[in-house]
């Protein structure tokens, strides 16, 4: 399978990334090289195998009790822009 330029542009928008013309060319080349390599997985017989999700044993649960967390000042203190303990961001533009 190989990735086209159009697909790269679509993926970039999904991943919130933007690339120059040159970078897109490089990305097409690099990703296709990697996809060629992973073709070897086609040879593995995975018939009837249950996909593993994580290495752990199940999902541990805990009691629903309130524990202390960061206070709003601490939490917003490292933000590029914050005001009144809120994160400040540019407006989302409608109908892009």
């Amino acid at each position: 399978m190989s990735i086209s330029r159009g697909e790269i542009e679509h993926l970039a928008s999904l991943a919130h990334l933007e690339f120059s013309e040159e970078e897109i060319g490089g990305m097409v080349r690099d990703l296709n090289r990697i996809l060629d390599y992973v073709e070897c997985l086609e040879q593995v017989d995975v018939e009837g195998i249950d996909p593993a999700s994580s290495g752990g044993a199940g999902t541990p649960l805990r009691e629903d009790r309130v524990l202390p967390g960061l206070d709003p000042g601490e939490a917003t203190g490292g933000a590029p822009m914050a005001e009144r303990d809120l994160f400040k961001v540019p407006p989302a533009i409608e109908g892009e």
């Binding site: 399978m1 990735i3 697909e7 790269i8 993926l11 970039a12 999904l14 991943a15 919130h16 990334l17 933007e18 690339f19 990305m27 690099d30 990703l31 090289r33 990697i34 390599y37 992973v38 070897c40 997985l41 593995v44 995975v46 195998i49 249950d50 996909p51 593993a52 999700s53 994580s54 290495g55 752990g56 044993a57 999902t59 541990p60 805990r62 960061l70 601490e74 939490a75 917003t76 203190g77 490292g78 933000a79 590029p80 822009m81 994160f87 961001v89 540019p90 407006p91 989302a92 533009i93 892009e96």
Partner: protein, 511 residues
Amino acid sequence: MNSRERALVSIPAGEIPGRIRSGELRARDLAEAVAARIERLDPELGAFLATTPQQARQEADRVDEGVENGKSPGPLAGIPVAIKDNIVTAGVPTTAGSRILEGHVPVYEATVVERLRRAGAVLVGKTNLDEFGMGSSTENSGFRSTRNPWNPDRVSGGSSGGSAAAVAARMAGLALGSDTGGSVRQPAALCGVYGLKPTYGRVSRYGLIAFASSLDQIGGFSRDLPGLALLYQAISGHDERDSTSADRAVEPVPGDGLSRGDGLWPGDGALSESGSGASLRVGFAESFLAHEGVQPEVAEITRKAGRILSSAGLEVQDIELPDPEIGIASYYLLATAEASSNLARYDGVRYGNRASGEGLEGMYRATRSRGFGAEVKRRIMLGTYVLSSGYYDAYYLRAQKVRADLRHRFQRLFESVDVILLPTSPTSAFPLGERVDDPMQMYLADVFTVFANLTGIPGISIPMGLDDGGLPVAVQVLAPAWREDNLFAVAGVIADAVQLPAWPDPGEEVR
């Protein structure tokens, strides 16, 4: 450099707490010696992104005061420890090696760092890494590359290259790293130090900046096995704040001071599977050594390690391991998929840097495109593709099934052997710049290490000396989940038989 400084920084980590408790050594003197050495060597080596000499002095003073007041100063008392910069340290800048987090100062502390502090360790600084843990040479750091202390034109390995180099160069007694596809074991091999990746779930990931959550595990570096054992004991164990951390006791391992005399420590007598009396069975994959890209000297020292174990009475048998290409392929699909999800949070909103763009979406794109390096972007793109509709089944789901199959295969292998012996890295340290333009070439550095991450089993890299070019070579031992004790036992047998070279003094030799 004065000989007193050299003597201090050369004390094996495992010996430091005992000497401090006896009053023979002052933590402050050691902290000063290490700080001076870092200041002198690191501008050239580039192992550290941030150093904390002031804090280190204060922590060392506390240890010394404790000893003076007759208080027990903790199992890691006074040991200078370096922390990979993807592990958060409160009040100390933590960047994950990325420009997108340049200047970021965490407001909380990773569990492993809390545990080290409580154990009396002295934190000397944050070490360089490939950005977000993605890489095998530390050349993907957003800031600089780390040079190999044995040869400045060579890489130190990655992604925990800074930590490995810091320990090899005696700028720290111990160091923490993280291992997702080999990022502790491989740099350990390239820098000639011990590197341990514990079983997945053995060490809390709370405070580890996530790359691939089902593969990441924090591990450690040391120049001596007892020091590594102390580090392992200090950081391991259940943490309520990490639900993937196992709720099980941490068994003693040889060298941690807890188990002498029970037959586990190599010097105590017959090396045996705890209690059973049978000698440990070692699986050796001779066919692996014929793999393309394996340096002949690496193959030779792996066979030598096999002969050492055989002479020590361990039963070495031939085994067939799964094709390493299958490991690399499934690893790079799964890890990048998880990374594309984990790195979605870097958007210029809550932490890190922000670049301006048109509106919110423009801000996200500009921030991420400017803040992330090329390799990170490449992996996010691949991960996004692998998870996207139309491709999920062919790539991600298939890789998950392959992973499940690998787990079963290793479980079956461990029915007939107790440990597996193989190389850590196919080659010794390669030159800086050699693989930066060829991602696939770089990925192949992980051929022998990814199995442990995919299956969750623990692995250790054991230094074996130098190749003809003066560069470290190492072997790797794998064990079933929760059997780190056998990793330490086998490492101990090899350590007793191999004469390691003198530690390097980078920049201070006449070339």
